[in-house]
Symmetry: C2
Subunit: 109 residues, 2 copies
């Protein structure tokens, strides 16, 4: 993807699995576009990441699950997920592609 | 703004100047919401920043000017602005608030 482009273009019509595209990679930050279409994390799977991640839903709808809470997300909703906070994608809408923007970054020391 | 919130809420009806809200501050990254409504950079003013900045327009419309180029931006359009690349906001639409998401980060060494 170019240095200047549009987040909502090139959404695949068929999406056998979640599609992650790196938009920017710098020393301590990576910006990604994540496209899901009805995908969820595998049963029993939890993300447990060494980096922190700030994510926003920009199209579609999704449900994020943490160990003790559930977050239903619609366009514009964002959340910060600290490093090693377990989470999983419980659901994304089957109606249209869900487009997320994610910013992975090193946790503050 | 809370750790979990919506980017498109709390848009002020009256906006005497550009409104910048920090959504996340970490060691080497700051995520900001920027709301403009018909604002432009002052005549003759150029941003010349020590940090790099990745920005995306998510609502509204804007024109960014660089020393040798002009970029018309609509929702979903993003661009990476390296540190010390001079730029200015030439125009934002008067029709509605323009909402940007900006990620400031240290340039790769």
């Amino acid at each position: 993807m170019n240095i200047s482009a549009n987040l909502f273009t090139d959404l695949p019509a068929n999406l056998p699995k979640e599609l992650v595209t790196t938009l920017l990679q710098a020393a301590d930050v990576r910006i990604e576009r994540i496209v899901s279409h009805g995908h969820a994390s595998p049963e029993g799977f939890w993300y447990d990441q060494g980096q922190s991640e700030w994510v926003i839903v920009l199209q579609g709808a999704a449900t994020l699950r943490f160990e003790n809470s559930v977050l239903e997300m619609k366009p514009g909703d964002f959340v910060n997920i600290p490093a090693n906070k377990k989470h999983r994608v419980d659901w994304t809408t089957p109606d249209q592609p869900t487009v997320w923007l994610g910013v992975r970054y090193a946790a503050t020391p």
